[in-house]
């Protein structure tokens, strides 16, 4: 149904121009502005000099900022790995359920995705904080076992010290990873599900018939089939994790900042826009590199498969 653009010129212009103009003016242009600003220099409170030097980028790879950048990558990687480890068994279970169960389970996984990021982070605080639900439940268990031991005349052994010290569940890196996992895991589940739901189940039958066990079948059949979906899932989880700033802001402690917090600070309080722009563009460069790697991977993957068919 696709026509060449010269055939129905008027309609084409009418349909193309609004979207293209908006995209160019309100998306590409702002990006170009911060791209040029990332090579600039702050001269006074509001003034920026476009000096086309790399010193903002050099500063980003120096000392404290580099540590934060590195830490953001590590935290995002751990989160992504955790999401992957949970998502695969969950998807395996869902995609082999009955049709009715399948839609119920899928909607229950999708539903939190539509609820506000901030609200979900907030709901985690209530559970994790020092006087939150986990700690108060643990305290209750602790006290009851203390009573029990006293009752049994075992108090001398001092198995539990008298007062309960609350666990530090919040305001540390653990809380950030948990928060990111909690928010972004649906993005890992959905792409894997879309592949696993449609693939040829006879392959599994054949594998078991030929004497492979569960582990063998998983690594030789299922994993190669879902690997492109896993790559998509990794991208969908890793990139937003890298750029997050609310979760470390609300769940992290004083020393658990991520790159998003530093960017936010450059624009909201420190007022060093050129440096903030260069950090934002570092995130964009990483995004582009990740997509490029995936593009190359899919090219290689499809070639491999053609070879396997022959």
């Amino acid at each position: 149904m696709a026509n060449s653009w010269s055939v129905k010129n008027k309609l084409f212009i009418f349909l193309l121009v609004p979207g293209l103009a908006w995209l160019l003016f309100f998306f590409i242009l702002p990006l170009i502005i911060i791209f040029s600003m990332s090579f600039g220099q702050k001269i006074d409170i509001i003034g920026v000099e476009y000096s086309w030097s790399l010193h903002n980028y050099i500063r980003a790879f120096d000392g404290i900022y580099f540590i934060t950048l590195f830490k953001s990558v590590i935290i995002s990687s751990i989160t992504t790995l955790l999401c992957l480890l949970v998502a695969v068994p969950v998807v395996l279970y869902i995609s082999f359920s009955s049709t009715r169960m399948k839609s119920i389970l899928l909607i229950s996984i999708m539903l939190p995705l539509w609820t506000n990021l901030l609200i979900r982070t907030y709901s985690l605080i209530a559970i994790l904080r020092t006087k939150g639900h986990i700690n108060s439940s643990l305290e209750f268990l602790w006290d009851s076992s203390n009573h029990l031991f006293n009752f049994l005349n075992l108090a001398n052994y001092n198995i539990f010290s008298n007062s309960f010290t609350p666990l530090n569940l919040i305001y540390n890196n653990f809380a950030i990873i948990l928060g990111l996992f909690y928010i972004y895991i649906p993005f890992m589940i959905i792409p894997i599900y879309l592949v696993l739901e449609r693939f040829d189940r006879n392959l599994l039958e054949a594998s078991y018939d030929l004497g492979a066990n569960h582990i063998h079948t998983f690594f030789k059949i299922i994993l190669p089939i879902i690997s492109p979906a896993i790559i998509s899932g990794i991208i969908l989880v890793f990139i937003p994790c890298l750029g997050t700033f609310i979760i470390p802001d609300l769940l992290g402690g004083a020393d658990s900042q991520m790159i998003g917090n530093i960017i936010e600070r450059q624009f909201k309080s420190a007022n060093d826009w050129p440096f903030g722009s260069s950090l934002s563009f570092l995130l964009i460069y990483m995004t582009i590199i990740i997509f490029a790697v995936r593009y190359i991977y899919t090219k290689l993957y499809s070639k491999l498969h053609i070879r396997m068919d022959i």
Partner: protein
């Protein structure tokens, strides 16, 4: 008599007890905080840990709070206007990409995905710098004071609309279009009498989807909002930073309710089929 033991096929993963345990405990972890949040919005205690009886006083307090009310009406206004603009832009872009082949089309496709894939914070700060750079006036009059947020929202919402509508267009039966052309319809008539009615469920769904995206957005809004244009998520953020109160639970529950209802309709309209048009 020997007991008959049912031999199950090993590929019935749905009956594997390990997978089942993992899945259900995952769902419990996923829902526990949210259920806790809703539950404690009715709790008659400031400390928010121990249940001290049912109350709706935090809801009443919320409705009396003028600042919260203003923030909420700002959010709704922004969501409505940016949704209307996004739907129009997304619809025309989707039809254009579906119907025409043109020079650099591949790159236009890619550029449309870009606002969706880059980290939100980058979009937020680029918008902040952009409005400063072109010295966008700081309007004092009410709907205009929201203009910068609306523009920023449309930039990342309309590509979503274009993608939803385009995927719907890919199942349109071409014979109907050809018979339309045979019977002498002009292009505008084809769009008006065939494509738009066919797309109606997808348009409604993407309208609602865009509405929830805008209502829900925090990061982009945070960077583009000024003192005169506080939205509900931005207000919730400052409340959370200040401390934890049951009032936040009440506001969150209300927002959750709105989003869940509109999501229900999104799913309903997206799965609706008008058979006459489909291949």
């Amino acid at each position: 008599m020997r007991k008959i033991k049912l031999i199950r096929s090993p590929i019935e993963y749905a009956r594997n007890k390990y997978l089942k345990t993992i899945t259900y405990s995952f769902l419990v972890i996923l829902y526990l905080p949210i259920i806790n949040l809703i539950f404690f919005s009715f709790n008659d205690s400031k400390r928010n840990i121990v249940w001290r009886g049912f109350t709706t006083k935090y809801y009443e307090k919320m409705f009396d709070n003028q600042i919260l009310f203003d923030a909420f009406s700002n959010s709704l206004t922004i969501a409505f206007i940016s949704t209307v603009i996004s739907t129009i832009l997304g619809l025309s872009t989707a039809i254009c990409l579906w119907k025409f082949n043109f020079y650099l089309k591949k790159y236009y496709d890619l550029a449309l995905i870009f606002p969706i894939v880059i980290p939100e914070i980058c979009l937020g700060v680029s918008m902040l710098v952009f409005f400063n750079f072109i010295s966008w006036p700081n309007f004092q009059i009410w709907p205009l004071s929201l203009s910068s947020i609306i523009i920023a929202h449309v930039s990342f919402i309309f590509p979503f609309v274009a993608i939803i509508i385009r995927s719907r267009l890919s199942i349109l039966n071409n014979e109907i279009l050809e018979s339309g052309t045979d019977l002498g319809a002009t292009n505008f008539q084809i769009i008006k009498f065939i494509i738009i009615p066919f797309l109606k469920p997808a348009i409604i769904a993407s309208f609602l989807f865009a509405f929830t995206l805008s209502l829900d957005d925090f990061v982009v809004t945070f960077f583009t909002s000024g003192p005169n244009s506080v939205t509900l998520p931005v207000k919730i953020y400052s409340m959370v930073r200040f401390g934890i109160t049951p009032e936040i639970n009440a506001v969150s529950t209300l927002l959750l309710l709105i989003i869940i209802i509109s999501t229900y309709f999104v799913i309903k309209f997206l799965t609706k089929k008008n058979r006459a048009f489909i291949k």
